[in-house]
Symmetry: C2
Subunit: 387 residues, 2 copies
């Protein structure tokens, strides 16, 4: 078991109708609120109006139009500008992980005098951030309970993970009914994203019985509940369980004390969506089983056996490699069964930039120190197998 | 899935050698530190000297002698007196759950003008508390990661659970090597305590797939690792896993969104140790299987089946009640196997005060609203079966 230093100070208010707490949550933070959101979905489900009604006594500014794989330019820069010009006291992010990730970069950028890219890339330290509250409308990234975000810069094909303790939301308001209208595509992609968050913590060199059980429970809960959400999008219990399993995804609690895997699938997928702007969860689902096949060897096979037996209920009385291969196949089949396109070509990616992407990942992501080290040639192979 | 409102702001610094962080943790809290501890064990293992050496630049006052089932008089009152007289800035609790529970009451009592018993019993609100840091030496109660404590008042046979968000430690320093010297008796009792914390969250009317998996993982981890700790008290990995599984016990994370059980075994055991000052974990281990037998019925049997199959690996292809009874028997046998005396008479309790204790519990603990409601006659039966 590895040493760790852990703290998650975010308050979670979870359940049907909990938005009624919003005014009390915002009040101590100040009067000038920047409301950040994405496309029109929060207007369609009536959430925008509800927020405006509840915050009638506050001075509200707005930054709409934050896109999936949120962009440094224009979104982060525009948000920072509003915060600085208006003296914003707190930011309320209403949406999914992309809105929240973008909001985190804005919150820190607004407290920094130079180019916000410096703090996003770690060239300058993050010393403070405007307080953030969020109302989640998509179960996926876990950004609502962690201190990280991912920001894309189109002109350089960069997709940077930005992590700093100042970025924890003060409070996340989690009402599963706001996810009732999430499309089948996004529900499936969110499930794949959260499952991969857990796998990145499960496929490691050193883990514990407790953490393995936590991770296996998370994976089983996500698979069972995503299926139910797809069958009946208004199944409250399934939406609720899925939301909470996703919320824990990136804050560490699934695997405190485990060694670090290097998060290889995320590293690979970040290049895919930086180069092609695809849906993150779909990219992960495509990469995951190919990565698994690539790293299966005598050192890792026992991990796959445990995964196969405990997550998929595969018969343990078989040859190890048989079980491992069945587990990888079951992973692929599950993603396929929830409607995820399982080939890169299905999401508009051909072989023309594989070399370039593999090189970008190899240079930037440090995967030579991953659970199973991945060099440029390995990355080319995994990407090619994913076509 | 039930609504919940959750936050745990405590920082956990976990692992071998992490005490080196102590000066940096204490520095922002102030210069005047009250050091609280129990008997001589922290001196025996060199921890007392280490703390004094690391905090050489601070002004240290001491409250030694805090007992198991910590007492309002003298410990809480004495600590409050020192804090008020010396203007203590922060309290450093070094020891197990009892030292920490007592410290929590002191920290809040020192900020209250009246009789601290008022805030412990909720007659007056807790509005603030002196910041608390702890260095844990016993894996059991989970007090290091929750905002509660249990305080006993001998003259009235009261053992009161005191819970308030102001009581979260600022930081818990968790070095498993400090538990190497814990006796077999206390190791086993700590395991039973933590297991029962999980069971109190698992045996409920409404739970989730995720939470069930978390709880089952916690129980399996505790059982496997307690056995290893008893066989080899210096097995670092086993001590570490056990410590962390215990740490999560009472802070809610095992079962957020589950309905509330009323914590019946704790309610019953609190009377036992209030009347007889027995070891809390032993009392819980004795009560648990008798409580299980008592509440087994058509409504609860499926829960016991899940518990038996997933925690003890009992063959699911049997009659439900057969599985449930095997699960209860396995629970009993496990506690017995780690050396816990499994009858009240083994810990010095006869039938003379059973009626009185049952009445005290029925009046004070609200178990008519428990997972399976328990009235005075039920309590008499469970206690009598435990003799």
């Amino acid at each position: 078991m590895q040493n760790f230093d852990y703290m998650t100070p975010t308050r979670l208010i979870f359940g049907k109708g909990v938005i009624s707490n919003l005014p009390a949550v915002m009040k101590p933070l100040g009067k000038k609120i920047l409301l950040t959101y994405g496309g029109g979905s929060i207007k369609k489900i009536g959430l925008y109006d509800k927020v405006k009604e509840l915050l009638a006594g506050f001075e509200i500014y707005e930054l709409p139009g934050i896109q999936p794989n949120p962009k440094y330019d224009p979104s982060v820069l525009a948000g920072v500008k509003i915060c600085k010009e208006k003296g914003i006291d707190a930011i309320l992010a209403v949406g999914g992980g992309s809105v929240l990730d973008c909001t985190k970069a804005i919150a820190a950028g607004a407290k920094y005098d130079g180019d916000p890219w410096d703090i996003i890339t770690g060239k300058a330290p993050t010393l403070s951030a405007i307080p953030i509250v969020d109302i989640l409308t998509l179960s996926a990234t876990g950004s609502e309970y962690d201190c990280g975000g991912v920001i894309s810069r189109t002109e350089t094909n960069d997709k940077i993970g930005y992590v700093d303790p100042h970025l924890f939301p003060v409070c996340s308001i989690l009402d599963p009914t706001y996810t009732f209208s999430v499309s089948k595509k996004q529900t499936a992609a969110g499930c794949a994203d959260a499952m991969n968050h857990i796998m990145e913590q499960y496929f490691v060199a050193d883990s514990t019985l407790l953490n393995d059980g936590f991770c296996e429970a998370g994976l089983k809960s996500l698979m069972a509940n995503a299926k139910k959400c797809l069958e009946n999008p208004e199944d409250y219990t399934a939406r609720a369980e899925m939301m909470f399993a996703c919320t824990l995804g990136c804050n560490g609690i699934y695997a405190l004390g485990n060694s670090h895997s290097g998060w290889p699938c995320h590293a690979i997928e970040h290049a895919l969506s930086a180069y092609y702007d695809i849906t993150h969860g779909e990219g992960l689902a495509i990469i995951t089983p190919r990565w698994m096949k690539h790293i299966l060897n005598d050192k890792t096979v026992d991990r796959f056996v445990k995964y196969g037996v405990n997550v998929f209920g595969i018969d343990p009385k078989q040859d190890k490699y048989e079980i491992a291969n069945q587990a990888i196949e079951a992973t692929y089949k599950f993603f396929e069964s929830i409607g995820i396109p399982m080939h890169l070509k299905d999401v508009g990616i051909d072989d023309s930039r594989i070399g370039e992407m593999a090189h970008h990942i190899a240079v930037n992501e440090g995967l030579e120190n991953a659970f199973v080290p991945l060099l440029e040639a390995d990355l080319v192979k995994i990407l090619t197998e994913s076509l």
